[in-house]
């Protein structure tokens, strides 16, 4: 039995086979009512060649086996409900359960996208109110809720830039990204048909206006900026940067991944941004769910609005309608209207906080990050001296001397009962440790986390080899990602 560590004590969970291994012929867990119409012969109705044999190896398990299977598996996961989840740039804040409850109200959950508009007024009203609130938070003139995720929002945003520039006579060729940018930014620009040019950040991890000025010319369609940037620092020259781009007719795109630092305090629309996306699953607390679903609302200034994806909401004689008559629109980016269920949750979050509450949440997020920075700065090297916003980024230079890198420290953090911070990103920081606590963490949890980090810093000095082989207390020890990639096995076979 391993020794308790900090506030951690191990507990037992049963091992669990895969569904296919649990299956026994003939077992079932479903119920269907008796058919109230005459049955039909499938081979006759569909043609014998179109009817399949039984689905080979598909699960055959009972109801209690299903619930135990997934419940056991769930206990092998870490979630915000279990503790601090300090993944930088991911904004893992508490997910209020009221949001889940309202999204499941039958009249919302069972609304069909093609039901008559006269019988969809509630759903449309919810979307209209959310568009309004987000527009105010962003400082933008119009908002589309159609994109399904952050990356999808980026893609939509860059397509809007292209359509706008085309309408001005020249779509241009290049998109600029700072070297600190998230990988999605260059990937998005490429998919939207642009070449990517990477700009080197200055000594403070910020965009250097002189470097930018030298790079901007009539070929540049836009620059993709994250603000606060990926080192958690507000781009202090943002107004000047936007001016340089606008002077050459280029657009300012903002990746809103870090919007949690700004809500109610500063608005992208006020500091020169033309178009931005916001990950509603970050700032607006809709659950990450192990990787989705999300939603990527996109806000634009009025000059980009005619190009927004359709249909758009429109109020006529007190009734909401979907307007499909949008001659300049880039077209649809997905079927129907967006991840409505996620939008309901985001609106519930905004309503629960209200305007003043949203600003308080932002300030608490800044305070929590700065508190962690203050407590850890003597043990870990802060990446840049510039003031931190909602997250703080350290580098592993002190620990590297003992051979322990950011990835090792992250794995050891698991032993202390915490999810790791963001590892090795942004790439401009040597061995980055990017920590974002969010506003929903109580001081006791922040202190427990800082105590764990400090204990690990000491362990790195005393017994680096132990840290390098962490985690030691998890039911699954370090996972061999190399073998997985060399001989990929991505499905079960008998």
């Amino acid at each position: 039995m391993p020794k308790p560590l900090g506030k951690i004590r191990p507990h037992f969970t049963q091992n669990e086979q895969l569904l296919f291994e649990l299956s026994r012929p003939g077992k079932t867990g479903y119920q269907l009512p008796e058919l109230d119409v005459p049955d039909v012969d499938a081979a006759e109705a569909l043609g014998a060649g179109n009817v399949r044999e039984a689905i080979e190896d598909f699960p055959e398990v009972s109801e209690v086996e299903v619930i135990r299977h997934f419940t056991r598996l769930s206990t092998w996961n870490y979630g915000i409900d279990l503790g601090l989840f300090p993944l930088g740039s991911c904004t893992m804040k508490y997910n209020p359960r009221i949001n889940e409850a309202v999204a499941r109200i039958a009249g919302l959950a069972w609304a069909h996208p093609y039901q008559p508009e006269s019988l969809s007024q509630g759903a449309m009203e919810i979307m209209a109110v959310l568009e309004h609130h987000l527009g105010d938070i962003f400082g933008m003139d119009e908002v589309t809720l159609q994109p399904a995720a952050g990356a999808h929002g980026e893609y939509t945003g860059i397509m809007l830039v292209r359509a706008y520039l085309e309408s001005q006579g020249n779509p241009r060729k290049k998109v600029l990204c700072p070297d600190s940018a998230h990988g999605t930014n260059p990937a998005t620009a490429m998919i939207a048909g642009y070449q990517v040019e990477t700009l080197k950040s200055n000594g403070q991890g910020m965009i250097d206006p002189a470097v930018l000025a030298a790079a901007v010319n009539e070929d540049v369609a836009a620059m993709m900026i994250t603000n606060p940037n990926t080192v958690g620092v507000f781009e202090e020259n943002i107004v000047q940067i936007a001016g340089i781009l606008h002077a050459k007719g280029a657009q300012v795109y903002m990746d809103g991944a870090n919007l949690n630092a700004l809500v109610g305090v500063a608005r992208p629309g006020d500091f020169g941004v033309d178009v931005l996306h916001s990950n509603l699953h970050k700032t607006f607390s809709t659950p990450h769910g192990g990787g989705g679903p999300g939603a990527g609302a996109v806000g634009v200034k009025s000059h980009l609005a005619p190009f927004l994806p359709g249909p758009r909401l429109k109020k006529t004689d007190g009734q909401w309608t979907w307007n499909h008559d949008l001659p300049q629109s880039i077209g649809r980016v997905r079927a129907y209207y967006g991840n409505f269920g996620v939008l309901v949750r985001a609106l519930a979050y905004i309503m629960a906080h209200g305007g003043p509450g949203l600003k308080t949440a932002t300030i608490d997020a800044l305070l929590n990050a700065n508190y962690i920075r203050a407590r850890l700065k003597d043990y870990f090297q802060i990446a840049y001296d510039a003031p931190s916003m909602h997250e703080c980024v350290f580098e592993d230079t002190k620990q590297e001397k003992q051979g322990a890198r950011t990835g090792d420290i992250a794995k050891r953090l698991i032993d202390y009962g915490f999810h790791p911070y963001t590892v090795s990103f942004p790439m401009i920081v040597h061995g980055a440790m990017m920590i974002e606590p969010t506003e929903t963490e109580p001081k006791a949890e922040l202190d427990a986390f800082c105590d764990a980090m400090i204990a690990i810093a000491k362990e790195v000095e005393a017994e680096p080899e132990m840290v390098k082989h962490a985690p030691h207390l998890t039911r699954t020890s370090r996972v061999d990602e190399v073998s997985a990639a060399r001989k990929p096995v991505v499905r079960w076979k008998p």
Binding site: F70, L82, L108, Y114, G122, A187, A266, G289, S477, V490
Partner: protein, 424 residues
Amino acid sequence: MLEACGLSDLSELYAHLPASALLDRALDIPKGLSEYEITDYFTAQAAKNADGYASFLGAGVYSHYRPVLCDVVVSRGEFLTSYTPYQAEIAQGTLTTIFEFQTMVCQLTGMEVANASMYDGSTAVPEAAMMALRITGRSSFLAAANLHPEYRQVLDTAARNAQLHVESFGYDPKTGRIDLADLEAKLNGGIACVILQSPNFFGVVEDVKAAADLAHKHGALLVMVFSEAVSLGLLEPPRDADIVVGEFQSFAISPSYGGPFAGIIATREKYIRQIPGRLAGETKDADGNRAFCLTLSTREQHIRREKATSNICTNQALIALMATVFMSVYGKQGLRELAQQNLAKAHYLAAGLNTRFNGPFFNEFVVTPKSRTPEEANAALLEKKIIGGLPLGKFFPELKDSLLLCATEMSKRADMDVVKEVLL
């Protein structure tokens, strides 16, 4: 805490921002509400929607019963509030369920590999097209005219931006199936893939093999799309396709006014490195126990940046989990019985109506009412608290006299009898 940060006032936390960037007023959002008030607000909005109506709408979004276990499982905080499983040691729950999801997608589609899910069926279509482009080195696409029209619009948006060409091929006005002769005439050495849906937008089951043979003859791939996943419980899987994409909304995902849903993409093993999105793979931990992790990540944006297969960052994990629970509950026997019930209900509904096409159909079909326009028929049904079918004129001018009707296991015989009477 302020003192620990060396500050004396909260406003100092953002005092370094340029003055012109700071918001000098309060947000135009009313003050915060209690849980009760929020529930009240959304309940009131829901009441303005079609609550309590029977519905015969399908067209890509289907009303199927959602087994109770699905919400029970996805409401577990360990699933609901976890992140993308980068830290495999504390994400084996999510990773194992993704591996099971990928396996079941393969079993259903007859493909060899599948990813951890896509945003939805519509966005999976351009991803499949781009995959075909990478594999074949060709840059034009042929899409069936009876593909879901909104899927087609999404494909057109993506193609326009990438300066790629999409052309339609027609359908047979008698059967509702694709026109193979038109497909053959339009195939040439520049076509990366042929995209068709089965059951198609009209609900008609296509001859996927015949289309695949034609595509392959010209060196093109065959991309098969589905929007009604329940059909896979009964229909022969599209083994002749090269890429299968589709929508899993039917598997316990509420219609939710159009999202969030979960798409799938599956293909042959040899194309595994061209798949976009997340993949979970089997491996071992340091103690030799079976474990799972995300794998082949070098295809993805966070590593390959502008050379990635797609800009997609993640999957629809929680929605895919819902579908995984659904597939486990129904299982081998149940999914077939469910599909069989859908088939029987739709054929009961269609019997005696003026159906537009004579091709085989699963749970949807096109009907042309003899005595009323589609709009008049729907208005008559609404008075009886029934939402009728989708009038097709909006998408297919030649079918402006027709509606697309869908019946599922949740359609009641009494309601169907009313619909039959009105649509005669």
